[in-house]
Amino acid sequence: MLKTRENRRYQILCNVVLALLTIFMVFPFALLFMSSITEENTLIMNGYSLFPRKLSLEAYKYIFQNGQKIFHAYGVTIFVTVAGTCINLWMSSMLAFGLSRKNLPFRRVITFYVFFTMLFNGGLVPTYMMYTGTFHIKNTIFAMIVPNLLMSAVNVLLVRTYFTNSIPEALYEAAEIDGAGQMRIYFQVALPLGKPILVTTGLFAALGYWNDWTNGLYYVNQEQFWGIQNLLNKMISDVQALTSGLMSKEMAGMIATMPSVSVRMAIAFVAMLPILAVYPFLQKYFAEGIAMGAVKG
């Protein structure tokens, strides 16, 4: 690069702008974390702040001592994420495997069948009526796993394209000559060669499950099936109802025994912790996934 004066000035400009932007991006998380370690009375007196007068780890202590409900919700989220992601990868990779085979009968029709779901959908009412009325998934663990998140057409088409481009037809032929059946080809040729794309799409499926709160909102009103996001959602809507005076006295009394301000923030922080923890290692995959999702399947 040229070391001109103009370039030096431009570098300074870039770095200053981007540093400010970085602060803007990170500051909300810092606020969340700082509020979770602010002493409760300080929080109520002085409000949420980046530089609280008095720190305390009481909130985290509280979670570890009386947090059965929280741990349970956390466990549900983990279970739903693991189960959902596995089924997601299994179904979409098998579908993509078929669609990637050039000689598959009805290949175009089936591809269109998958693709069309990206263009048009029935919306909430029919989906809700079907899942609750026909399949009776209301208040079951299936409600947290099945609707909308179990497979996405975009991912199927991404995996298909990857298979098509990275596995030459000759490889399949060689495997067939060696006497391998389709099942075996899928397991021993397609899956190992498709690992990079499966990691990426699996990551996004897992993220979808970890962050999802809508399935719980629509289909579940028993706390035992709630994930951590639903628990957080419930806590903050209770606070809203309390402060807007919409709540009866006895309800308000119940809420008073619920986790207080700093504890809520601590739970929120604990809910985002896994993402924060894996982010440095998996950032590459997140970035790749986004770049791929933008190109057409």
């Binding site: 431009y10 969340l32 669609l99 085979r101 598959l104 959908n121 919306g123 809203q240 923030m265 929120a268």
Partner: protein, 325 residues
């Protein structure tokens, strides 16, 4: 290989061979179809059955009888009369479309600017830090986002009311009851959460530009602004078109979490936070009015679909390689 059979077309023998081949082909592909079945079945249940359920918009829907058991609306367009004569229809349509336009404009223009800056930063380590910071909010759930926004805006102990406004000698504002503040708040939140997504795509697109072009222009004495205006921007136009068109085709849909969770479902600010998606949800599950919800959902699905087709047709006409299909 099946399908590559020689067909000599000679009477019975050829016919037999054809039959055998079809059988062989069937046997060959059967395991593959069985493997594809779970995925295809899931799409049928999760996506195709609800498409048929759109007829609920023309029914007096009640939960007990389900969509198909519920009686037809009389006249058949009754739900739509209710929907479009209420002031809600205009409001939710306006909010959905205007917010989407603002989001597209803000996130893409700033996203491009940020992408150019990040690409031009020379320090590799700084580049990585910026990129990580800008993408991270994209991975957060809307519930967490709503907690952060609440910490900033809460009436009693929000940071804005307790620490920042007093600095300027201003009175506290009850944000969750002030509708005119929400367009700014939501655009800011959406920028914070979403800008990393487009930015990343633009960075990848800029990385694909041949460095030799810049060197040549440099030697010819081009300034920094000229480099950006004549090389960088024109080179990323295809990505911009793809991304913007993708967003425009979804202009009739909104992020339910952003408009429901972040404003805390606060009734006082519906006028600037109610979109088609939040309206459909509230009518269905909070106001117990499934017919109205179905009508609004139908309106969204159909207009949304027409928009996708129209946008794609437009792109096809002007730059075929950028069309979605």
């Amino acid at each position: 290989m099946p399908g590559m059979h020689r067909n000599n077309g000679e009477g019975r023998l050829g016919l037999m061979e054809k039959k055998n081949n079809r059988l062989a082909k069937f046997k060959y592909w059967l395991p593959v179809f069985i493997m594809m079945l779970p995925g295809l079945l899931y799409l049928f249940i999760n996506n195709y059955i609800p498409m048929g359920g759109l007829i609920s918009a023309f029914k007096q829907v009640n939960f007990a009888d389900g969509i198909y058991g519920s009686p037809w609306a009389d006249p058949w367009y009754k739900n739509f009369i209710y929907l479009f004569t209420s002031k809600d229809a205009l409001e939710i349509t306006r909010n959905t479309i205007l917010y989407n336009f603002a989001f597209i404009l803000v996130n893409n223009s700033l996203g491009i600017a940020i992408a150019i800056f990040i690409s031009d930063v020379q320090s590799k380590r700084a580049k990585k830090v910026y990129q990580s910071a800008i993408l991270f909010p994209f991975l957060m759930s809307m519930v967490i986002v709503s907690y952060i926004v609440f910490a900033l805006l809460s009436n009693e102990n929000g940071m804005l009311n307790k620490s920042i406004l007093p600095l300027f000698g201003m009175e506290p504002v009850s944000w969750y009851a002030t509708p005119q503040a929400w367009p700014v708040i939501l655009i800011l939140v959406n920028f914070w959460k979403g800008v990393g997504y487009g930015c990343l795509i633009y960075i990848a697109s800029i990385a694909g530009i041949d460095k030799a072009i810049y060197e040549a222009a440099r030697i010819d004495g081009a300034s920094r602004l000229q480099l950006i205006g004549h090389i960088t921007l024109p080179s990323i136009v295809p990505s911009v078109i793809t991304l913007v068109m993708l967003n425009v085709s979804k202009i009739f849909f909104s992020d339910f979490g952003l408009f429901y969770q972040v404003p805390q479902n606060s009734g006082a600010i519906y006028s600037t936070t109610n979109t088609i998606d939040t309206y459909v949800y509230r009518a269905l599950l909070q106001q117990n009015n499934p017919s109205m919800s179905a009508a609004a959902g139908f309106y969204q699905s159909i207009v949304g679909f027409v928009l996708v087709l129209a946008v794609n047709a437009l792109v096809r006409k002007f730059s075929k390689e950028n069309a979605l299909f």
